[in-house]
């Protein structure tokens, strides 16, 4: 019996909450705020939503086991087909990939995609929860912290390509400045490269202003099949490519200078979207930046820059909002905040708003038609990508 057919998928609405270190709202309430805003923007009611996908990262932050279940009602999923996907930090963008297959398979005409994180529940500091992501035999007994592994990767990247800290610090300066124009941003600021280089050394070469904060927040998007989208809006944004890829758990066996898993995810998405020359064909990109060097690292993984060349593009201003390849016009995680899963979903929302020309002061120049959002996750392991077109 013929069950489903393949369908084109559009994003027709998006919403998000403020991102802050401590928000009063519970995880359920944050999910609700973002979801209801997205529904309003799409011109739909909850009864029009046929399926829901929740993306939320470690349960240890919110302090609830099976937290997908706990958050379900906040995410509009009362008596609906609901599933939760979880790929560490990659979750925020992977969630929209998951929403994509709900509609592209033909099984549902609409899907509500939510990214939520309430890190402040982990008391007194979410850093504690991060120790549990490490292998209990060959890493935890050494007292490993999350910052160590980023520092090890950053240092390797700098060493292999001969990149200096000043070149990396420019990303933090750019993104925090971009975030000044984002009304929900946690850490928009006007800082200089010197400020970054003078900031407290956390774990060399990582310094305080190289890092994004821990945050609470939520973001949501509404996906619809082509027929439904065209009835609701003149301006649908199509999801033309999705990609995801995971590398081995043995990260100490890998050369960390290049994120092969991001390249794997990008190749999958580019193939689906028919993109052969990414730096020319992508008009705007939201690239995962929990640390400033990560933006460069991921640009190379996404093949938007050749290996070792991303710092040069940044220095030349190519990645500024008025450059040829704007990267993180939102302000990224460094500027807007990093509620793990919601951050990636926020990036998807940004691409949606950019392609619709609704990004206000953050709008990139020209008429962007093709946008990309990417997230990273697990132990230097996961890449998730989405490509949208208007």
């Amino acid at each position: 019996m013929e069950m489903f057919g393949k369908k084109r998928v559009a994003v027709i609405g998006a919403g998000m909450t403020l991102f802050r270190r401590n928000l009063k709202e519970t995880g359920k309430e944050l999910a609700w705020e973002a979801s209801s805003m997205a529904l309003d923007q799409a011109g739909l009611e909850l009864k029009d939503i046929q399926s829901v996908v929740m993306g939320t990262a470690p349960d240890a932050f919110d302090g609830v086991h099976m937290k997908g279940e706990y958050l379900a009602d906040g995410a509009g999923s009362w008596r609906k087909p609901y599933s939760r996907v979880f790929v560490g930090g990659g979750t925020g963008v992977f969630t929209i990939d998951a929403g994509w297959w709900h509609v592209a398979s033909g099984q549902f005409d609409t899907c509500l995609v939510v990214g939520e994180e309430k890190m402040s529940s982990c008391y007194p500091h979410p850093a504690y929860a991060f120790t549990t992501i490490f292998d209990p035999i060959y890493a935890r007994p050494l007292g490993v912290t999350l910052i160590w592994i980023f520092a090890l990767e950053m240092h390797r990247y700098m060493h292999v390509h001969g990149i200096k800290k000043e070149e990396i610090a420019r990303v933090s300066v750019k993104n925090k400045r971009n975030a000044l124009d984002h009304p929900c941003a946690q850490l928009g600021a006007n800082i200089t490269v010197e400020d970054v280089l003078n900031s407290e050394v956390m774990c060399w070469p990582v310094q305080r202003l190289d890092i994004s904060p821990t945050s609470d927040g939520a973001a949501a998007l509404i996906l619809a099949s082509e027929d439904v989208a065209k009835k609701l809006t003149d301006n649908p944004v199509w999801i033309d490519g999705v990609g995801w890829c995971i590398d081995s758990t043995f990260w100490t066996n890998r050369d960390l200078y290049f994120p092969q898993y991001v390249q794997g995810a990008a190749q999958m998405a580019y193939k689906m979207a028919g993109i052969k020359n990414p730096p020319k064909e992508i008009d705007v990109a939201e690239v995962y930046d929990p640390f400033d060097y990560k933006e460069l690292h991921h640009m190379e993984g996404l093949m938007l820059a050749r290996k070792g060349q991303a710092p040069k593009l940044t220095a030349e201003g190519v990645t500024q909002r008025d450059g040829d390849l704007p990267i993180n016009p939102s302000g990224g995680l460094l500027g807007v905040g990093n509620p793990i899963a919601a951050a990636g979903t926020m990036k998807c929302c940004e691409i949606f708003w950019q392609l619709r020309g609704e990004a206000g002061k953050r709008q990139v120049k020209g008429d962007p038609r093709t946008g990309l959002a990417q997230a990273w996750g697990d132990l230097m392991q996961y890449g998730s990508v989405v490509i949208m077109r208007s």
């Binding site: 019996m1 013929e2 069950m3 489903f4 057919g5 393949k6 519970t26 990262a57 470690p58 349960d59 240890a60 302090g63 609830v64 086991h65 099976m66 997908g68 279940e69 706990y70 379900a72 009602d73 999923s77 009362w78 008596r79 609906k80 087909p81 609901y82 599933s83 939760r84 996907v85 979880f86 790929v87 560490g88 992977f94 998951a98 297959w101 709900h102 592209a104 398979s105 033909g106 099984q107 991060f130 549990t132 992501i133 209990p136 990609g243 995801w244 890829c245 995971i246 590398d247 081995s248 758990t249 092969q260 898993y261 794997g264 689906m272 996750g377 697990d378 132990l379 392991q381 996961y382």
Partner: protein, 384 residues
Amino acid sequence: MRDAAIVGVGCTGFESVTPDISYKEMMFEAATRAYQDAGNISPRKDIDAFISVAEDYWEGFSIFDEFVPDQLGAVLRHLFTVSGDSIIGLATANMLIKTGHFDVVAVESHGKPSDILTLYDVVSFAMDPILNRPLGGHPFYVGGMEMNRFLCETGNSKEQCAMVVAKNKGNALANPFAAYGADTDVEDVLRSDPYFYPLNKLDISQPSDGGVVIVLASDEVAYKLNDNPIWLKGVGWICDTPSLETRCWSEAVYARMAADMAYKHAGINTPSKEVDFAEVDDLFSYKELQHMEALRLCGKGQAGTLTEEGVTSLDGYLPVNPSGGMLGMGWPLEASGMQRLLEVVLQLRGEAGSRQLSDVEVGVAQSWRGIPTATGAVAVLSNC
């Protein structure tokens, strides 16, 4: 595009403890068996996507997704984790295939509750932190409350629930994968210690360790991988509500709605006549009766009578839990749905050994995510 089909299954078996292997080695064994069963495919090139079904707190690691790819052959491939029930994992694999971009998808789930020293504290950790958890207590009291209301409203009896235990543990004696097969009398169950009235000790499944991998393929490649593909005719999944205070306490609404979704796709209008056998969640004995009624395998209040009359036994006309269910096989946490799917596939293939049912064409697998959720999924499978 026609239905997708299950072309490979691999199971490690279910045991009460597995101290000699790590969870990684357990997953590797299940995956190796499944890939061999699926025409000896190589995960390094033949599998388009991998789905791991897991929850952090069952494993004891945050972002459990990190620890998964190597033992499934998914390094630098397209794997992700669904934090849900294994049948939801299967539904996801089905959607991937229906997009037309994936031909072969592997789904994995396992449970190793013997690694958890404080299992029921982990279960409590899933309860609402503001309204429910501060009340304390062993979380299975929620099951007791539901059983009480269910029996009261439907007229099914404690004795009939005890018959479910005797049937399932008896069935499990014929299942080499089962951990807790036993010759149990109804009287044994009724006389066992009261735990969460009206649940007695023997009404409750014991945890077991085990892992299952299933390979799903599009109709275009199914026959290339297995001569006897088992077709996924319909699948549904529903989250009713996380709230204890506002849910229905007698009916398994999630199971009814998920079944309706699955039956609709499968073109089934009268399940009591069109379904040949079913594997349903029986974490607690009464759950089998409650789920039977939610799946419309019988009318409200009739499930206990059908059990008493032997209709749901191996030699009855609507066998339920021929595998022994979880009462017989053990409760493997998120792999519960896999346990149900595995049996349905084996029965439809004719590979169920001494518990083989005769002339079966349509089987239903149903799962529930356990206390404190009201979430579950249903899959309808057929060998034709």
